[in-house]
Structure formats: C-alpha cells, structure tokens
C-alpha cells in the first residue's frame, strides 16, 4: 500500500512538471496556433543564466532563481519579436517548422558560445531534501514543484478571469481579430502570452536545474517533447487540457516504468507514444479540445 501511494505521488510530481511545461506551450498555442518547440531552449536559457551567475560568483539563491526566470521571460519575448512575429498569421505547420528552426539555432548557439558538454550548476541543490510523512518518503523538490504548479494554475486562472488582458488572451484563442476590434493591441496580447510562457519555462527551469544540477544544449528538448505530447492529449490550446494532459502523461509514464516487465523496459517511450497516438485517433483534437467556431474572417 505504501508502495502504491509512493508511486502515486511520484506520478503526481512527474505530472506537475509536465503540466507546468504544457501550460507554457498551450498558452502560446491557444492564441496563435504556434507549437513552440523552442520552449525547451527557453528553459536552457534559464539554465545558462544560472551558469553565468555562478561564474560571476553570485550565489544568492533568490537572485539566481529570479535571474533565471527573468532571463527566460526576456528570451521568450525576444523570440516572439524576432522569429514568431513574421509567422503570426501563418498556418500551424509554418509555425511548427519555424519553432523547430529556432530550436536548432539556439541549441547550436549554446554549443558554440558555451560548450557541448554539461556544465554543473549546484546553486539550487539546497531546494532538495528528503521529507518523510507516515512512512512515505518524498523529495522536497517534488513537493515544491507540485505546489508551484498548483499555485501557477490558480494564479493563471485568476489572471485569465480577472484582468482585461487575461480575458483578451482567452478570447484571442477563439477569435483574435475580434479582440483587436475591441481596441486591445494585438502585440500586447502576444507579448503577454509569450511572457507567461517564458515565466512558466523559467519556473520549470528552476526545478529541472535543481534536480539535474547541470545544463547542456539539449536540456529542454526531451521534457518539451513530452510536454508537447501532454498538450496534444489534453486538447490543443486548451489550458485545462494542458494540465490534464500533463498529469495524465505523468501517470502513464510512471505506470509504464513500474508495470512493464523488465524485458520490455526499453519500450517505455514507445508505449507512452502509442497511447498518445491512440488517444488522438480516438479524439483527433485531444480530450478537452476547445470549441473552434471562429467567426467569418476576412
């Protein structure tokens, strides 16, 4: 029983990380249909910022964490301006390919200007210590990450429901042009979505770095691939869908790791992606796909 609870909590914290990342993808997707594969490189920007702080001998964890988050937000904003603005009105495929291109460029920029090898960042190790409650052992990091994800979801919900810009972001997912016709500046809405996306990437970066303790050019690719899957499973561009997809994926992945017989252990990823494919065949737009009923656009 303890074992089951333990693995259940593991699934929860896996899911929290995927949900955090998937939300970052979904908020951008929802307003401009862009599958931002460069999200992983935004995370890496945060990681390399921590390296820079370490090189400058700045060890204050608050500064390091805030710096990483701010760097990720700025990077996200910059990408919106430089790379994604020209394809704003393009179809999702053009956006997806642009994002792939951006991702390749950034990975190689890290390789060129920093190093292809992992660089250790130990400044966030302090976030991780063991907690034991009623015989169940948890890492503090798991708790922090799950709590952060919950706080982020609540904060995001408040932002999206209580502020004009938040309402605009939600409305834009349905009919961007109509949002402009209420007088809200399109650039502000896009900037806000990318800013939030960058913020979420920055927060995820803190946890990923605290856990891995090092950064390399490919840092973000795998987690974002998974988050992307979560996003799709939950429903493209649906924020609740991203959260649902994230936790679902966490559960599936832990279940696969634990329940697949050892002889099939190497197939974990194959099974996870097979489930994704099946969900998509069952519901081509994901489980919680938002209703698309755009008005006539000119």
């Amino acid at each position: 029983m303890e074992y089951v609870i333990q693995q259940g909590l593991n699934a929860l914290s896996f899911g929290a990380e995927y949900a955090l990342l998937a939300l970052g993808l979904a908020i951008v997707f929802s307003i401009m249909g862009l599958v931002n594969f460069a999200h992983g490189e935004i995370i890496a920007v945060g990681g390399y910022t921590m390296v820079a702080f370490a090189a400058l001998a700045i060890g204050n964890p608050v500064i390091v964490m805030a710096g990483a988050v701010i760097a990720a937000m700025l990077a996200s904003l910059t990408l919106e301006r430089v790379a994604f603005r020209p394809v704003r009105k393009a179809d999702p495929t053009t956006g997806l390919l642009t994002a792939f291109g951006v991702s390749i460029v950034l990975q190689n920029v890290f390789l060129m200007f920093v190093s292809p090898r992992p660089i250790a960042v130990t400044s966030l190790y302090f976030l991780d210590w063991p907690i034991e409650i009623a015989g169940i052992r948890l890492a503090s990091l798991q708790v922090f990450e799950t709590l952060t994800t919950i706080v982020v979801i609540v904060a995001l919900m408040l932002f999206l429901r209580r502020t004009v810009l938040g309402l605009a972001v939600r409305a834009a997912s349905l009919d961007f042009e109509m949002v402009r016709l209420t007088g809200i500046k399109a650039n502000r809405v896009f900037a806000m979505a990318f800013l939030i996306s960058g913020l979420l990437a920055g927060l995820a970066c803190i946890f990923i770095m605290a856990r891995r303790g090092s950064v390399d050019p490919h840092l973000g690719f795998d987690p974002v691939l998974k988050a992307f899957v979560a996003c799709v499973v939950g429903g493209f561009g649906s924020l609740p869908g991203a959260v649902l997809g994230g936790f679902l994926l966490g559960a599936v992945e832990v279940a696969m790791l634990v329940m697949l017989p050892q002889s099939l252990g190497g197939m974990t990823d194959a099974f996870v992606f097979m489930i994704v494919a099946l969900i998509l065949i069952w519901r081509p737009d994901g489980i919680l796909s938002p209703a698309i009923e755009k008005g006539d656009k000119l």
Binding site: Y3, P116, P118, A120, R211, R212, D216, L257
Partner: protein, 384 residues
C-alpha cells in the same frame, strides 16, 4: 639579388612542412557537434600534436592534423575519412561508435590505414568484423570486472543493476557483466531496472529499490552525466546508502560538482574508467599544460586524443616509415606502447583492443582518489 634569393630560400624552408612527404598526417573525422560532441577527442589530440611538434616532431617531421566535424553523422564521417585517406593520413580517428567505425575501417582497409579510437569500450568492434583498428582502452567487461572486484572487497553482496539499450552494449550489458562477477563470488543480483538517458527524476526506480526485501549493498549503472549525479543525490535523499558504482561515463567534471556542498555525497561512489583522473594524474597534468598552451581540454574524454597522437608517434618511430600499414603493424606487435592516460598499452595479444590496467576511482572528502589500477584476471569470457 642575393637578398631576394635568400628570402626565397627562406620562404621555401618555411613552406616545407606543407610538402606531403614531410609531415605525419593524422585525420580526425570526429563529432565536434551533435549528439556525441561531448566525447570528441580532438582537443587533446591538438594539444599533444602541438607539444610534439614543439619538441621537433616525429623523427624530425611535424605532425599535421586534419580535423573536421562530422556533426555526429555516420555518412559525413565516412566521407571525411575518405578525404583524409586521399590526403595520405597514416591513422584515422572517428566517431566512437561501431556504426561509424565499421564502415570507416572498411574504407580505410583499402589504404592499409587503421583507426585509432582512444575511448570506445564497446565490445562489438572486437567480434572480428574488421581488424584494421585499435581501441586504446579495454572493453567494457574489463571495466565491469575491475569495478566488481573492488565492490567485493568492500563486502558487497546484493546488487541492483540499471540497464538501458540506448548506449548499446555499454549501457545494456556492462551492468550484466558486473552482476556476473558479483554472482560468481557469492553475491546476488536482486533486480534489474530499466532507465533512459536524460532521466532527471529517478523516483519510480528508487521506489522499486525501497520495495526490495533487503536493501542493496550497491547499485551499478553505466550511464552519463548529469543523469548519474542526479541518481546519486536522489538515492541519498531517499535514504539509500548503497554504493553507487559505474563506468567511464562517470568520468566527468560535473560529477565532482555534486559534492561541492556536501562531499559526503560522493563517499560511496566509485567507478572503473579509462584512465586515472585524480588530482595528480597524468591526464589532469596534461590538461593543465594544455591550458597554459592555450588549448582547452575539458575532461578525460577530450584528453584521450593525446593517446592517438602518442601511439602514432610510437608507430612511426618504430617502423621508421610513414607507410600506414607498417605503422599499424609496429603498434600492433609492440610489447608496450607509451600513451598519456596509463603508463603503456599493448595490442600484442589482443590485436584490436588495448591490454592495460583499469583504474578504479573513488572519492575522499569530495576529491578523486585512485583506488586500484590493475589488469583484472577474472573477466567474463562470454563477450567475444
């Protein structure tokens, strides 16, 4: 007029190294970018070649290095190898995986040229497919055995093995050979757990370990940084005090970093690797010298390129010729070839892999210490 004549003569002398016959050419079609970029040996090779050239070269001939990036792509590596072969190299280096080494060796065979790979420990290269290559290290069963022998000395009985197919036999079978040696000496493999490269949360596997009837004395994993560092920390914070034992993938400066705040994290970590890499080892000294010379050699893997250059130097000097086949024969038949990473290696009995001591490296107060450095005698034999 005279002056001009002299100047021209001076130019001719200065240009001399460019003439084909007068340089020892070595071609490295290596992964400088892409997936395998962290394992490229070119920096160490560059530095060692520069050092030898500064000392007058090999038999008076300077070393000329051809280095190009393969982007970790096999076809590019083969094409570049072809180019270097046509340029007249005496030895080739390439991507340290069999899917590239085999076709490169096949192309090189027509030229009598061999490959020298200073770090590839995988066994499949030694199955008799091609014979014109050297790996400057011993295959994985040797490192697994060296690690197991030290583990047995520490009283390890029960072990958990982490395996993955992603790194070929290196990550899939090395743990099993480790387990074989442990079981041959009365120990027990309690469980085999699967993992993927890039894992940053080991909690499902850790929960499996916690669910075992008796806690393991050791876990063995053949994986890379930063995954290994993450595993060590997460095992310790889960209260698992077992030894964490591994192979050359542990040999990365970022492993040491996890002990920067709490050195005790590394107290029960050791690994069998390619070369001694503790504080006053030859490799670390070499890296410092290179830094003074303006070359950045960022760890053991990049440093191993020095072995390639030293082996070629030995081969050319011994053969007294630049004929690639003669150079390879000289290396292959020598009792002892001097290299940087260990005192010497020999291919006399093994043909394609180096017979050499296997260093086992552990930690004391967060600093690397060389525990043993022997040739293990009880290596499993089912690998070839």
């Amino acid at each position: 007029m005279k002056k001009i004549g002299l100047t021209l003569a001076g130019l001719a002398v200065a240009a001399a190294p460019a003439f084909a016959a007068d340089t020892v050419k070595i071609g490295l079609a290596v992964p400088m970018t892409g997936d395998y970029a962290p394992y490229s040996e070119f920096q160490g090779a560059k530095c060692m070649a520069e050092k030898i050239n500064a000392d007058g070269g090999i038999n008076g001939m300077p070393i000329e290095l051809f280095i190009q990036d393969t982007g970790s792509d096999t076809q590019t590596a083969v094409s570049l190898a072809q180019k270097f072969l046509d340029d007249g190299v005496v030895m080739l280096g390439t991507i340290p995986f069999s899917d590239t080494m085999i076709p490169v060796a096949q192309v090189a065979a027509g030229y009598g040229v061999s490959i020298f790979q200073p770090q590839s420990t995988q066994v499949e290269m030694h199955a008799g497919i091609v014979d014109n290559f050297f790996t400057g290290v011993s295959p994985d069963p040797f490192t697994a055995t060296a690690a197991a022998n030290h583990a047995l000395k520490q009283g390890v009985k029960n072990v958990v093995l982490f395996t993955s197919d992603e790194g070929g036999s290196w990550s899939a079978r090395t743990p099993l050979w480790f387990g074989d040696v442990i079981e041959a000496n009365g120990g027990k493999v309690q469980a085999k757990l699967n993992f993927s490269f890039g894992t940053s949360d080991w909690s499902p596997q850790i929960a499996e370990i916690k669910a075992l009837d008796t806690p393991p004395d050791a876990v063995y994993i053949s994986s890379i940084m930063p995954d290994v560092g993450v595993l060590v920390r997460q095992l310790r914070s889960a209260g698992i005090d077992a030894w964490v034992i591994g192979s050359d993938g542990f040999d990365d400066p970022s492993l040491d970093a996890i002990g920067s705040d709490d050195p005790s994290l590394l107290d029960k970590v050791f690994f069998a690797t390619l070369a001694p890499s503790h504080e006053d080892s030859a490799v670390v000294k070499f890296m410092k010298e290179c830094e003074d010379m303006g070359f950045e050699v960022g760890g053991l893997f990049p440093a191993t390129g020095a072995d390639t250059i030293m082996a070629v130097k030995f081969g050319v000097e011994t053969a007294g010729s630049l004929d690639p086949a003669a150079v390879s024969d000289a290396i292959r038949s020598a009792d002892s070839v001097p290299v940087l990473t260990v005192d010497s290696i020999s291919f006399k009995d093994t043909k394609t892999y180096a017979q050499r001591t296997i260093p086992v490296i552990g930690y004391k107060d967060g600093k690397r210490v060389l525990i043993t450095n022997d040739i293990p005698a009880n290596v499993p034999t089912d690998w070839n």
